[in-house]
């Protein structure tokens, strides 16, 4: 299909679809007026019942905490699947020659890039911890904090290369983080049952509204999610970056 035909097709599609778009836009609720009773109810109830000001965390870890448990294990399965698919016999040795595209020189990292990565890495890791810790008060939470933490770890690869990255990011440690995080979340549910309450009921003291440590058991569930996401993302980075190595004699492709 040539670009001209594609443009003509696009114009024809616009002619058909645009009236429908305008018709829908005409029937939208007025600006600032929204038919979302659930959101209104959460905004009203969560500060009183759970003493938290981040409603997303209140929904994720408390009002619909059971869904998050499912999502937690979905992520565990997805990471496990990726690792099983990509990990062959390669990756046992820590040193590795990078894979080369023909005609492309491998330039050493410039000093400026290395310096930026070494300075920025710890800052990004601290910011990740900050986002994860303030799950109950500001936007963010364990998932976002864990992802930022993993990005900070990835800066080792960008700055100091594959060998340094493999020496730092030991896969057993991060696999344990991932599994323990998900388990911690599930254990929170069983702890509530031990106390004679329904599964995942919030049995801990809720703390002060707008305090970092408000929210009761949501704090522990948030810690579980943070651990699982940080571990899971580093595991994914490990497997994907392994794909950038040159294949050595004796290496098997993944799936071994």
């Amino acid at each position: 299909m040539t670009p001209a035909v594609r443009l003509a097709l696009f114009a024809a599609a616009c002619l058909v679809l645009l009236p429908a778009v305008f018709a829908v836009a005409g029937h939208m609720p007025a600006f600032g007026d929204h038919p979302m009773p659930y959101g209104e109810a959460i905004n009203r109830l969560a500060p009183v019942q759970r003493h938290v000001s981040n409603m997303v965390s209140a929904i994720n870890f408390d009002y619909r905490g059971f869904d998050t448990l499912g999502e937690e294990f979905m992520m565990l399965c997805a990471v496990t699947g990726t690792v099983v698919l990509l990990r062959g016999s390669r990756g046992e040795r820590l040193g590795a020659r990078p894979g080369i595209v023909r005609g492309r020189a491998i330039l050493p990292r410039s000093d400026a890039a290395v310096l930026v990565c070494r300075l920025l890495g710890p800052v990004v890791v601290v910011f990740g911890l900050y986002v994860a810790l303030h799950a109950m008060t500001t936007p963010g939470g364990g998932f976002q904090g864990g992802a930022i933490f993993a990005t900070g770890a990835l800066l080792t690869f960008i700055g100091d290369g594959y060998e340094a990255w493999r020496r730092l990011a030991r896969s057993p440690i991060f696999a344990a983080c991932e599994g323990l995080g998900a388990t911690l979340y599930a254990l929170c549910g069983f702890a509530a049952m031990l106390a004679g309450q329904p599964f995942l009921a919030n049995i801990m003291p809720k703390g002060q509204f707008r305090d970092v440590f408000s929210g009761g058991m949501m704090q522990i569930e948030n810690l579980g999610v943070g651990l699982a996401v940080a571990g899971g993302f580093v595991m994914l980075f490990l497997e994907f970056l392994e794909e950038t190595r040159a294949i050595e004699p004796g290496d098997e492709p993944g799936g071994g």
């Binding site: 990004v124 910011f127 500001t138 936007p139 990835l154 960008i158």
Partner: protein
């Protein structure tokens, strides 16, 4: 209309230009356009924090500023070696 809101509105046209620059041309030009867009969007988010009086928004500006650097470096590394 507060001065903060005026500043937000003033930064919007350059942001649109940067996004336009990021959506045409080769890899390198798009990456440069993306960098420009990020450099504008970080102060834009700070200004929006004050314009809309939502103090928590400032975390987003911090996140954009801190995560843009690793992202760009990783993309440029792959551009240099493999893409």
């Amino acid at each position: 209309v507060t001065p903060w809101m005026l500043a937000v509105l003033g930064l919007l046209p350059p942001f649109i230009v940067a996004v336009a620059a990021a959506s045409v041309g080769g890899f390198a030009q798009r990456l440069a356009g993306l960098q420009l867009a990020i450099a504008i969007v970080a102060p834009l988010l700070v200004l929006m924090t004050f314009a809309f009086d939502q103090s928590a928004l400032i975390d987003l500006a911090l996140a954009v500023a801190l995560l843009a650097a690793p992202g760009t470096l990783l993309v440029s590394l792959f551009l240099e070696r493999w893409l």
